[in-house]
Symmetry: C2
Subunit: 430 residues, 2 copies
């Protein structure tokens, strides 16, 4: 079956269906925006229970997805992300309960002040409205993204990778049943029930004004499509081409610990380090031990001339390597000429995601943290902390690398907007 | 001269020029993002002095703009907004100095917390990058918008209405000379030096990635064009179709004061009230006095049947009147059936700008403030407080009515983004 071609009649039908989903989402958003915090939390707990109850149906659907993916020759990583079992379904339910337990962001006052004329002004969190989430073939994201958006008072339209569609439909059906039992509108969390990519294009147009923001999660092809086609705001999650810069004043043991953790704790996450920059001023003492530690830990090192000189196992780095998110046990490595050169390299090749400096020099750290234009900048800490949970945000829907609205881990607070509440005593403006 | 048609050769030349402006803006933004607060403030004071020094040249340019506008038959309001004199130039310079004196937002820590593993995480304000401001024929906006963007560490590309282009060029030249004297890059504030509208369309595409956000200021035709064509994020400033809702528990004297101020203090500002909603439960006592007060103050009232019944001077409201931003001494008025009906009317006809409730009932006020989805919601206060200065933000570049990033008065803080700064002690993730 080719899921990516659609005939005109089917396209018209899909358009009508998606627009109807958009209208229903807008109506649901109005209800959710006013829903008491307790009701939302209770409904999410009910959804978690419903997911547990539906375990057999979810596993059955997932088995079909997995069989199809295997038949299509998908790789092991794809199959592992797709596979559900009892333990993973329990993890999905527990994650919904964790989101239910987060503080409700809607109505929270983030700033409050009094004006000389007696007006009290408060900045209050409100929902964003309707969120479109377009994500890869990972069944758990159906639950996480749906629950996070709902917790923030938003309606959501989910579109999963077609490889996980049956699993997503089963999880979604369970969640909606659980939510409905607590009075949440059925359209609070909607799932696009067809696999073809035409739906992505239509969501990116905003469904006639029904979608306020798109959250894309996926590989380079989705990101490129979103950048070309999106007509609504996007919380883009780009590459994590992250750097560890070992400054002249770095403690070698600390640099080694942080570097190995940044690169190798998990290589497939967006917070993993992809490039090592070692300052020329400490290269004589630090470069060889750091490179050997990486190689000995099983990491391939692609280096410039100076890095190649310290170990024969180092292979030459190509120009493209500086811009590559390997997501594997591979690192590009280079000697830089001081802090400004490091910042310049990151500016030229980085993706504004997560970058770290290792140094004992507070002034150098402050300069790096100020000048590197990334969502997350770290001093003496692993890039693998780029994670909403590690930030204390609870679950996250991704790491935003743009500069508008949300940046860094997108948790429940980043899925809100705000309004100004002004209270007077019959106050008029002179 | 028809400024709105452009031949292909000129279009290609304009495209090349605008893209070059975009690249220069991006370079300037890098420098501005790292510029010390003191240098930015000093440079803005220098720009203010330069505007004062250039008074004669600015007045000369403005005289040409005014003569052309008069010859074109522009109306009195247009001519008044366009006209400069010594006093208005002094006000422009003083406004730049006020912006210079604001607290510098870049680097400000808006939240800071410690994680159990010892990581210290701070959310720190950063510049947005490059801002495109498209505005009407008001010379003072050249200075205000330029200074506000620069204060927040952003480069800006300004595009003024063609009617004010000569005045804007003169003000801009003076500002840039003043800024340059303090080491600010020439491209920190750039002005599109041609009047044709093709430049607007190109700015809305983002100039090949050079513009991060567009701030449009202008009438319905600009807003419509921005909505149709923008490929970059927009801080939209839509209509201010604002409501005053007189609740059943409103004090009549207070309601009268706030209503008259909301409607008539200045009718041409975006915060002026355009619709009066009176609760049916107090209509018997409140409706007639409120309507008569408006009429006696010289305000035309267009009402539903109930409103027409209280005074023969009331004319019938058309359906379109509920959605109209009159910006004049005209108000639409209607009796509503309780708070929920008022909220529903505002949701249906409002523009998410500024809406007020007058009531002595705290619970009713809380419900209105929570449920009305507008950038600014007021209790017992005039809608004319919808203004960055009245909020204590200093100057503003407009009132944003969207829900993404900026909402309400867009002052210097709203022109920033943020990053997370994470400090450890060699901290690694388990």
């Amino acid at each position: 079956m080719n899921r990516h071609v659609i005939n005109p009649a089917d396209k018209a039908k899909l358009t009508a269906e998606l627009r109807a989903m958009g209208r229903k989402a807008r109506e649901a958003a109005r209800v959710l925006g006013r829903m008491p915090a307790g009701q939302k939390a209770q409904a999410l707990r009910s959804a978690a229970r419903a997911v547990r109850v539906a375990e057999a149906a979810i596993l059955e659907a997932n088995a079909l997805d997995c069989a199809e993916a295997a038949a299509e020759g998908q790789n092991a990583a794809f199959l592992d992300r797709l596979l559900l079992n009892a333990q993973r379904i329990e993890a999905i339910a527990a994650s919904i309960e964790d989101i239910a337990a987060l503080p409700d962001p809607v109505g929270a006052v983030t700033e409050e002040w009094m004006r000389p004329n007696g007006l009290r002004i408060a900045r209050v969190r409100t929902p964003l409205g309707v969120i479109g989430v377009i994500f890869e073939s990972r069944p758990n994201v159906t639950a996480d993204a749906g629950a996070l958006c709902l917790k923030a008072g938003n309606a959501v339209i989910l579109r999963t990778g077609s490889g996980a569609l049956r699993s997503a439909i089963a999880i979604h059906a369970a969640m909606v049943a659980g939510l409905k039992a607590e009075g949440v509108p059925e359209a609070a969390i909607q799932l696009v029930q067809v696999g073809d990519r035409e739906a992505v294009g239509q969501m990116l147009t905003g469904l006639d004004g029904a979608i306020d923001v798109i959250v894309p999660r996926g590989g380079k092809s989705l990101v490129a499509r979103v950048q070309a086609e999106a007509r609504v705001p996007v919380f883009a999650h780009l590459d994590g081409n992250n750097h560890v810069y070992v400054h002249a004043a770095a403690d070698l043991a600390m640099a080694k610990d942080v570097l190995l953790n940044s690169k190798l704790r998990r290589t497939g996450v967006c917070g993993s380090a992809e490039t090592l920059l070692v300052d020329g001023a400490c290269a004589a003492t630090h470069l060889a031990p750091l490179v050997k530690a990486l190689l000995d830990a099983g990491c391939a090192v692609r280096g410039d001339d100076a890095v190649q000189a310290v170990d024969p196992r180092v292979t030459p780095a190509s120009e493209a390597d500086w811009g590559t998110e390997f997501l594997d046990a591979i690192i590009a490595a280079k000697v830089v000429d001081g802090l400004e050169d490091a910042v310049r390299h990151i500016e030229q090749h980085g993706s504004h995601h997560t970058d770290a400096i290792i140094t004992a020099d507070a002034a150098a750290a402050a300069q790096f943290l100020a000048e590197v234009d990334s969502a997350i900048v770290l001093h003496n800490a692993s890039t693998q902390f780029a994670d909403g949970g590690e930030f204390g945000f609870g679950a996250e829907i991704g790491i935003a690398t743009g500069r508008m609205h949300a940046r860094g881990p997108v948790g429940v607070e980043q899925l809100t907007s705000f309004k100004y509440r002004v209270v007077g005593e019959g106050t008029v403006r002179p």
